[in-house]
C-alpha cells in the first residue's frame, strides 16, 4: 500500500505541476492515471487536486508513515520570491517525492526554507525570510502547528532538555538584537528568549548544555556561547577562529568548531581554523590553522574521522590527527551542503541556484558516487528520518 500511496502522491504532484504549466493534454493524461489508480474522483476542476491528496493521506495515515524511513532534503527555494520545499528520498534511494509538505498539507512552507530540526516525532521546518516554523509529524508530514510570532530571521532548531531552541539573527543590520528563542515543545509557543552576541547559527548539545556558534550573520563573529538549558542562561563564551560556520561533537565528547575565516571582500581576510574544545572545561585545547585564503566549511564526524569541505574538495582528518590533511578524498565537486552519515557522504549541488539541484551520495569506503538524485531548488539541508 505504501508504494501505491507514494505513487499516487507523486502522480498527483506531477499532475498539479503540469496543470501549473498549462499543458492541458498531459494534465488530462495524468488525471486519468490518477483516477484509475486511486478509484476516487481526481479533479474535474483545477482546484480539486489538493483535496484528493488529502484523501489519499487519510487512506494511508492509519497504516503507514510514508516518510518514516529515508532522507529528507530541505530546499531553500528561489531567492527572491516563492517557497522552499522538502524532498523525500527512500532509504534505498530507489524513489523520491518532491515537495511533500505541499502534497500532504496543500500549503507552502514559506520563503527560504533554511533548515529542519527534530524532536521525537516532530519535525520543525524553518522558513527564514517568512519568519515561520511549520511543525509536522516526521512520518506523515501532516501539519501539527505553525509558529509565526516571535521569530526574527530564524536559522536552526535543536531540542535540548525537553525544550526547543531556535537561533535568530534579528535584523542583520542590528548586532545587538540576536537571540535564541525557547520553544515549548508541547504547545509550540515561544516561552522565552536568550539574548546572545550577533550572528547565532548552528547549535550542538551535550547533556543539558547548548553550544551556539556565533558565525556573525552577514558579518563576522568568532565565538561559541555556552548555554545552560536548566537555567537558560549564558554560562560562558569560548573564543574560536573567525566565522564559526559548523560544529560537531565527537564520540569522546570533544566539540570541534570549524571557522571559515573572514572572506577576502572584507579587506581583512583571515585564515580558516579548526578548534578542538574540551566540553568539560569549555576551553580550546587545540586549534588547526588553514592558509589565509582557505575557507573551509561543512564539518562532519563519523566513526572517529572528521570530514570537511574546502574549495571544491572533501578532506578527512582523524580526531587523533596532528596536522591538517593535504590529500583530497573527493575532488571537483561543488557542495552547497554536505553531511556524513553511517559510512556514506551526501553532498548537494545547487547548480545555478535557479533550477533544481542534485543530491549525490558517496560511499566513504570507495569514495565513489553511488547515486545522484534530483531534488528541489537550492538544496541546503540533508536529514535522516
Amino acid at each position: 500500500m505504501s508504494l501505491l500511496g507514494r505513487c499516487l502522491i507523486d502522480t498527483c504532484t506531477y499532475n498539479y505541476k503540469l496543470n501549473f504549466n498549462m499543458i492541458k493534454v498531459n494534465y488530462l493524461f495524468a488525471a486519468i492515471i490518477c483516477f484509475t489508480l486511486a478509484w476516487s474522483s481526481c479533479s474535474k476542476d483545477d482546484e480539486l487536486e489538493m483535496e484528493m491528496m488529502m484523501e489519499i493521506e487519510e487512506e494511508t495515515e492509519e497504516e503507514v508513515l510514508p516518510y518514516a524511513n529515508g532522507i529528507l532534503v530541505s530546499n531553500e527555494g528561489p531567492f527572491a520570491s516563492g517557497t522552499g520545499t522538502v524532498t523525500y528520498i527512500a532509504e534505498d534511494l530507489s524513489m523520491k517525492s518532491d515537495d511533500i509538505f505541499k502534497a500532504v498539507n496543500g500549503t507552502d512552507l514559506g520563503n527560504v526554507v533554511q533548515s529542519i530540526g527534530f524532536h521525537e516525532d516532530d519535525a520543525y521546518i524553518i522558513a527564514n525570510v517568512s519568519n515561520t516554523i511549520n511543525i509536522v509529524d516526521r512520518g506523515t508530514f501532516e501539519s501539527k502547528g505553525l509558529i509565526s510570532e516571535g521569530l526574527n530571521n530564524p536559522r536552526f532548531f535543536i531540542s535540548v532538555n525537553n525544550k526547543g531552541y531556535v537561533s535568530n539573527w534579528g535584523d542583520p543590520a542590528d548586532e545587538t538584537d540576536d537571540y535564541i528563542a525557547i520553544i515549548n515543545l508541547r504547545d509550540y509557543s515561544i516561552s522565552g528568549t536568550i539574548p546572545v552576541d550577533f550572528g547565532p547559527e548552528k547549535m550542538v548539545s551535550k547533556d543539558n548544555t547548548l553550544y551556539v556558534a556565533l558565525q556573525g550573520a552577514f558579518g563576522q563573529n568568532n565565538k561559541v556561547v555556552v548555554i545552560n538549558t536548566v537555567t537558560d542562561n549564558v554560562e560562558s563564551e569560548i573564543s574560536v577562529g573567525d566565522v564559526p560556520n559548523d560544529m560537531v561533537l565527537d564520540s569522546d565528547e570533544y566539540l570541534w568548531v570549524m571557522g571559515g575565516g573572514a572572506p577576502s571582500f572584507t579587506g581583512a581576510e583571515t585564515a580558516g581554523s579548526l578548534s578542538k574544545v574540551n566540553t568539560e572545561t569549555n576551553t580550546v585545547e587545540n586549534a588547526f590553522e588553514f592558509e589565509v585564503t582557505e575557507h573551509p566549511s561543512q564539518l562532519n564526524f563519523d566513526d572517529g574521522i572528521l570530514y570537511y569541505y574546502l574549495a571544491g574538495a572533501v578532506y578527512e582528518l582523524p580526531t587523533v590527527g596532528m596536522t591538517l590533511p593535504v590529500k583530497t578524498m573527493i575532488e571537483d565537486v561543488s557542495f552547497y551542503e554536505m553531511v556524513v552519515n553511517d559510512g556514506m557522504l551526501y553532498g548537494t549541488n545547487a547548480k545555478d541556484f535557479s533550477s533544481k539541484g542534485e543530491l549525490t551520495v558517496y560511499d566513504l569506503n570507495t569514495m565513489s558516487s553511488v547515486a545522484t538524485i534530483e531534488v528541489g531548488i537550492i538544496p541546503g539541508g540533508i536529514y535522516f528520518n
Binding site: 505541476k17 501549473f20 504549466n21 498549462m22 528561489p78 527572491a80 520570491s81 516563492g82 517557497t83 507552502d108 514559506g110 520563503n111 527560504v112 522558513a127 525570510v129 517568512s130 519568519n131 535584523d171 542583520p172 543590520a173 542590528d174 552577514f218 572572506p263 577576502s264 571582500f265 575557507h295 574549495a311 571544491g312 565537486v333 561543488s334 552547497y336 545547487a350 547548480k351 545555478d352 541556484f353 535557479s354 533550477s355 533544481k356 531548488i377
Partner: protein, 614 residues
C-alpha cells in the same frame, strides 16, 4: 590594435568628408530641432512603433504600464510598482536601451532601466525601435530601444494643462504642463506626481500588498532658442525622484524600501548651413539609489554614477546620400557600498550613411567603434534597406551586430558572497530581421520576423567556494514573429480605432537548450478606442503567455488575460477652457494573476481623473 585602427579610420572620415554630390535635400528646421533626429534619418530598415498615450485621459502610472498595454514588450514586475525590467523580443533586461532625447540612459550600475522609475506620461513622443541599434544607441540596443523625446513647437500660443486624479489603493496623481512657442523661443515645462499606498488585496487570500507604497515625482523642462538663421540652441532637463517600498510576496513579508534620484541634462548647439549640420552637445546623467533593508532603521546601501558626455555630430547631404558622423567622449564614474570608486573613459567614432537610390529603394550603412579604458569593445555595424513595392506594400530588412557592455557592478562589485570580474568582455549579438508592411485605406498592418544570436552573455554564477562572479559564458538565441494591425474609421460623428499586436518568441539558452526564464512565448494586446462627439471609450485587453520561472524549465507560471477600460467626456465650458472627466477600471474581470511567481497583481480597481486645458 585593430580596434584602434578602425577608430582612427572612422574619425578621419569624420574630420575630412570627401564625398561630393548634388545639394538637393534641404534641411528643415524640424530636423534641427529634434535631438534624436537619427531616429528619423537613419532608420531605413527599422521597425518603429509610436506609442500614443493621448487616447487615455487617466495617465499611465509608469512606463511599464504604458508599454505593456500598448506593445508586445514583456515586463517582469516584482509586484505592481516595484522593480520592473523589460524583455523585448525575448532578450534580457539589459538588452533593451532606453534613450532620452538621443542619449542612452540605462543605468551604469545595472545596465538596465527600471521601467517603474520612468514616468508613463509627460513625454511628447514615445517610440519603440525594434531590433539592434547599437551603432546609434550604444550598449544594450539588442532587443531594441525605447525613445523618450521632448518636442518643442515654435509659434504656438500659451497652453497649460492641469490634471488631478484619485483612485483605488489611495492613489493620488497630479500633472501639469505648460508650453509656449514664440518665433524664436519654444518652451515646454511639465511635472507629474503620483503617490499610492498600493495596498491591493491578494485575491483568494486574506493578505494584502503590504509595504508596497510608492511615490514618484517627475519634472521635465525643455527649450529651443533660435540664435540666428543658422544656429539653434536647445536645452533639456529631466528630474525623477522615487520613493518605493518593496512589497510582501505570498510567502514572505518585507520592510525594505528604495529611493532613487535621476537627473538628466542636455544642452545642444546646432549650426546649419546648406546641406550641413554641425552640432555640439554636452550631457550630464546622474543616478543615485539608496536601499534600506529595513525602512524603520537608518542603515542603507547606496550607489551612484555620473556620466558626462560630449558629442560632436556632423551631418551632411550629398544629393540622395546623407552622411552622419559622430565623435563622442564619455567620462563615467560610479561608486557605492559594494563598488570601490571606478572611472571609465570612452571614446566613440561612428559613421551613419543613408542613401535613397530612388523613391522605391533606399538603404543605410552604419559603423561604430568605441575605445575604452577598462575593456575592449567590438566594432559594430548595421546594414538595412527598404523597398517600397507599391503604395500599399513595403519591405524592410536589416542585419546588424550589437553589443552590451559589462556594467560597473559586473566589473567592480565587491561584497558579501560576490565579486566582480574585471576581465569581462561585452556581450555581442548578431541579428537579422525583415518587416513587411501593408497599408490599405484605413487598415495598416505589419509583420516582422527576426533572429538574434547573442554570445559571450554575462552570467553570474557561484564558484566552488560559493562566491558569485560574472563570466562571459552564455549563448542565447531568439527568433520570433510580430504581427501588428490597426484600423481607423471615421463615420460622421463616430470614430473607431483598433490596434492589435501579437508576438511569438522563442528565447533559449543555446548551451542548455532550455527556454530563458520570464519570457512568454505569446503576447497579445488589443486596444480599441471609440469616440462619439464629446464622449470617448477605450477598451484594452492584454494576454501574456505562461513563463518558465526556473532555468531548467521545471516550473512555470500560468499566463493571464487582463482587460481594462476607460470612459471619458469632454466639456467645453469656454472656447479656451476645456475640461475632461474620465473614469477608468483596470482589471475589469477581477482576474487573480501573477506576473512574477508568488507576487499577485492588483485586483479590479477604479480611477477618476479631471483634466483641464487652458
Amino acid at each position: 590594435m585593430l580596434n584602434k585602427i578602425i577608430f582612427m579610420v572612422l574619425t578621419t572620415l569624420i574630420v575630412s568628408p570627401t564625398l561630393r554630390g548634388q545639394e538637393d535635400v534641404s534641411i528643415t528646421l524640424s530636423e534641427v530641432i529634434l535631438s534624436d533626429a537619427k531616429l528619423k534619418q537613419h532608420a531605413t530598415g527599422s521597425k518603429i512603433q509610436s506609442i500614443s498615450d493621448s487616447v487615455f485621459v487617466v495617465p499611465a502610472s509608469t512606463l511599464t504600464e504604458l508599454l505593456s498595454s500598448q506593445s508586445t514588450i514583456y515586463f517582469k514586475e516584482n509586484g505592481y510598482g516595484a522593480v520592473s525590467s523589460a524583455s523585448l523580443r525575448g532578450t534580457s533586461a539589459s538588452q533593451t536601451a532606453v534613450v532620452w532625447n538621443g542619449i542612452n540612459i540605462n543605468s551604469q550600475l545595472t545596465g538596465q532601466t527600471d521601467f517603474n522609475t520612468i514616468s508613463g506620461h509627460g513625454y511628447d513622443e514615445i517610440k519603440i525601435r525594434y531590433g539592434g541599434g547599437s551603432t546609434q544607441y550604444a550598449s544594450g540596443a539588442i532587443g531594441g530601444s525605447i525613445h523618450l523625446t521632448d518636442v518643442q513647437t515654435f509659434n504656438s500660443p500659451w497652453s497649460t494643462e492641469l490634471g488631478i486624479g484619485y483612485g483605488a489603493f489611495d492613489t493620488y496623481r497630479m500633472n501639469y504642463t505648460m508650453s509656449h512657442g514664440s518665433e524664436k523661443l519654444a518652451v515646454d515645462i511639465g511635472g507629474r506626481y503620483i503617490d499610492s499606498k498600493n495596498d491591493y488585496a491578494f485575491l483568494g487570500t486574506d493578505q494584502k500588498n503590504e509595504n508596497g507604497a510608492f511615490k514618484h515625482t517627475n519634472l521635465n523642462a525643455s527649450a529651443s532658442y533660435i540664435l540666428s538663421r543658422k544656429q539653434v540652441l536647445k536645452f533639456y532637463q529631466n528630474f525623477f525622484t522615487g520613493d518605493r517600498q518593496f512589497p510582501y510576496s505570498l510567502t514572505a513579508q518585507s520592510d525594505d524600501k528604495y529611493q532613487d534620484t535621476n537627473s538628466r541634462s542636455l544642452i545642444e548647439w546646432s549650426h546649419y548651413q546648406g546641406q550641413t549640420i554641425h552640432s555640439l552637445a554636452l550631457a550630464y546623467i546622474y543616478e543615485n539609489f539608496k536601499y534600506y533593508p529595513n525602512r524603520g532603521r537608518p542603515e542603507f546601501q547606496s550607489g551612484q554614477s555620473n556620466n558626462v558626455i560630449a558629442k560632436y555630430n556632423l551631418s551632411r547631404s550629398f544629393g540622395s546620400i546623407r552622411l552622419n558622423s559622430l565623435l563622442e567622449y564619455n567620462r563615467i564614474s560610479a561608486a557605492g557600498n559594494s563598488i570601490s570608486t571606478a572611472h571609465r573613459h570612452l571614446y566613440v567614432g561612428s559613421i551613419l550613411l543613408s542613401h535613397r537610390i530612388s523613391s522605391k529603394l533606399s538603404y543605410g550603412l552604419n559603423l561604430r567603434q568605441e575605445l575604452l579604458s577598462d575593456y575592449s569593445s567590438p566594432l559594430v555595424y548595421a546594414a538595412d534597406g527598404k523597398l517600397k513595392v507599391n503604395n500599399q506594400y513595403t519591405i524592410k530588412a536589416s542585419v546588424s551586430k550589437n553589443y552590451r557592455v559589462p556594467t560597473f557592478n559586473d566589473l567592480y562589485w565587491s561584497g558579501p558572497g560576490a565579486e566582480g570580474n574585471t576581465s569581462l568582455s561585452p556581450e555581442t549579438s548578431l541579428q537579422l530581421e525583415m518587416t513587411h508592411s501593408y497599408d490599405f485605406a484605413n487598415f495598416y498592418s505589419k509583420a516582422s520576423i527576426y533572429y538574434i544570436n547573442t554570445s559571450k552573455m554575462i552570467q553570474w554564477s557561484p564558484d566552488n567556494r560559493g562566491i558569485w562572479s560574472p563570466n562571459n559564458v552564455d549563448n542565447t538565441r531568439q527568433y520570433g514573429l510580430e504581427v501588428a494591425m490597426s484600423y481607423v474609421k471615421l463615420l460622421r460623428k463616430h470614430q473607431i480605432s483598433l490596434n492589435q499586436q501579437y508576438s511569438y518568441v522563442r528565447s533559449s539558452n543555446v548551451v542548455t537548450a532550455k527556454d530563458l526564464i520570464y519570457v512568454p512565448r505569446h503576447k497579445f494586446t488589443s486596444n480599441m478606442s471609440y469616440q462619439y462627439q464629446s464622449w470617448g471609450m477605450q477598451l484594452q485587453s492584454i494576454y501574456t503567455g505562461s513563463v518558465y520561472t526556473t532555468t531548467d524549465n521545471s516550473s512555470a507560471l500560468a499566463g493571464y488575460h487582463v482587460s481594462n477600460m476607460e470612459l471619458n467626456k469632454k466639456f467645453h465650458t469656454a472656447a479656451d477652457f476645456k475640461v475632461t472627466v474620465a473614469v477608468s477600471i483596470k482589471n475589469i474581470f477581477n482576474k487573480n494573476y501573477q506576473n512574477v511567481a508568488f507576487r499577485p497583481m492588483p485586483n479590479r480597481h477604479l480611477h477618476i481623473q479631471l483634466q483641464t486645458k487652458f
